[in-house]
Amino acid sequence: MKARVIVTLKDGILDPQGKAIEGALKSLGIEGIDSVRQGKIFEMELAADDRTTAAGLLRSACEKLLANQIIENFQVEFL
């Protein structure tokens, strides 16, 4: 089973990398992008073949390692 985990910064957390990317886009002449916040994607191949087991596993992976829950949120998508 394939899954994708998306880790993003919580609202209100300073994202200087996002801001730097915003500035770079503008300086390339790409107008109309008002804000950018940068996140991470993890693409996983799981041995489990039922979604409930997989969801539990991925939640555990996120809570224990992939996301720092002080400043990051996570979302799980099944592909």
Binding site: I13, L14, P16, Q17, A20, L65, L66, N68, I70, I71
Partner: protein, 235 residues
Amino acid sequence: MGNNRQRMNTTIVLFPGSNRERDAIRAIEKTTGKKPSIVWHGETALPAGTGLVLLPGGFSYGDYLRCGAIAARAPIMDAVRAHATRGGLVLGICNGFQILVESGLLPGVLMRNANLRFVCRMQHLTVERADTAFTSHYRPGQVIKVAIAHGEGNYSADAETIKRLEGGGRVAFRYCDSRGGRNGDANPNGSINDIAGIYSENFRVLGLMPHPENLIDPLVGGIDGRGLFESLACN
């Protein structure tokens, strides 16, 4: 106090990518008079009689995922946690501080420097209190000059945690200028309240971003870092 110098046993934990252990070894040897033990992150026990666990600077696991994130989950960290629970001393310098916050031994988070630059320079700090195992050889409010070298030293925590840290006197060091003044430029990374280092609740775990271990020899241009290690040597 003189005889105590022989008793402090230090264990330095090495992770793949640690690179400041030799400076830490030199600082410990010069002040405690004892060679520290070196333990690989994959071990599950600290040497018997360990008094101080030191997590050195560097780029453990290449800073992959988040700085210190993977190192914080290394096998040895359960033993470090147990040592801290028993009241043992733990010192995390730079990447070591990052590992301590990721492992939950200290609260908060260390984020990317607000100006996005890796800052490598001399830095003044105020020693907020001189009554801990780490700072007894300093004076309270003393301004010291040490080195910093980091890209992710921006200390942050929620309002509740900051209130608890400040209220409990758990801020160990703050960034300042040469006169102890706190203004924008004196803070290299945007950390809240100019926090450069913090203590655990029992004041036996210290994490700091600066490198006192590099300022122990007059040849380098300053010895303000000695005080921290001399304080520790008396434990």
